[in-house]
């Protein structure tokens, strides 16, 4: 099942904020299913890579302490309108996702 990845940019005072929202359970591996009493296996995003015009600008390593449906933001300088921003992520089960947008 493809997970939804959404992205938005916001420019203010010469800096551009890149906000990414991924629809992901971020399961810690410490919770138990209340019905079956079995442990729910960990399932979380490990890496998120941000690139601007094809160049990597930041890589975030995420742990299980990041909330469900993570909303992650980074900021870049000198991004112009029309610049391409891309984010890719991968989780501990090998699932990946990506989103692309242009700076407004």
């Amino acid at each position: 099942m493809a997970r939804q990845t959404r992205m938005r940019t916001k420019s203010q005072d010469g800096a551009t904020e890149i906000l990414v929202l991924v629809n992901h359970p971020m399961e810690t591996g410490q919770r138990t299913d209340p019905k079956t009493k079995e442990k729910i296996p960990a399932h979380f995003i490990q890496k998120m890579t941000f690139s601007l015009n094809g160049k990597e600008v930041a890589v975030a390593d995420l742990g299980v302490a990041v909330s469900k449906d993570p909303l992650v933001g980074v900021r870049v300088k000198n991004a112009k309108a029309g610049d391409k921003v891309k984010v890719t992520w991968s989780d501990n089960k090998g699932e990946t996702g990506e989103a692309e947008t242009t700076v407004r």
Binding site: E17, V57, K68, K77
Partner: protein
């Protein structure tokens, strides 16, 4: 397992493999390093710092601004924004000191500004620490966040 889902799984794994291979071919791209498993499994902030940066001496700094609620009603979703105003920020890492594994996230910058925002889980009321690596030195800032309902387990 359905054939289609199986194929999808292998494709995804292949893509990751290729990405890792590309990383190896270009040693300049240190950013695409492995996910720091040891750092995320460490049980104290110091242990994590050692594993991430090989250094535990972080100086308190006023240049780091933590924007987070003083009291969070739901520990499962605590919004936090960190901005570091110093030049040459190389990495930002976030810790919830009383979580079982303190490290929440680590951001490696290569051109991006010293800014990171996320939403995190907190088991209980705790100090939240932010460590910024800039110019090969470590800087830190702290804020206490009160949690009414824990966000871990249950």
């Amino acid at each position: 397992m359905h054939r289609r889902t199986f194929m999808k799984g292998t494709m995804a794994a292949a893509v990751v493999g290729v990405a890792a291979g590309a990383g190896l071919l270009k040693p300049g791209r240190v950013l695409a390093a492995e996910w720091p498993k040891d750092a995320f499994a460490a049980k104290s902030v110091d242990e994590t710092l050692k594993s991430l940066y090989g250094n535990t001496s972080a100086a308190a700094s006023n240049e780091i601004k933590i924007k987070a609620p003083i009291q969070a009603e739901n520990g499962a979703v605590v919004p936090i924004t960190v901005s570091a105003n110093m030049p040459n920020v190389q990495a930002i890492s976030l810790y919830v000191e009383k979580n079982q594994f303190p490290l929440v996230a680590n951001l490696n910058c290569n051109g991006a500004e010293g800014y990171f925002s996320a939403r995190m889980k907190m088991g209980q009321t705790s100090d939240v620490q932010c460590v910024v690596k800039a110019g090969d030195k470590l800087y830190t800032a702290k804020q206490n966040i009160k949690v009414t309902v824990g966000g871990c387990g249950g």
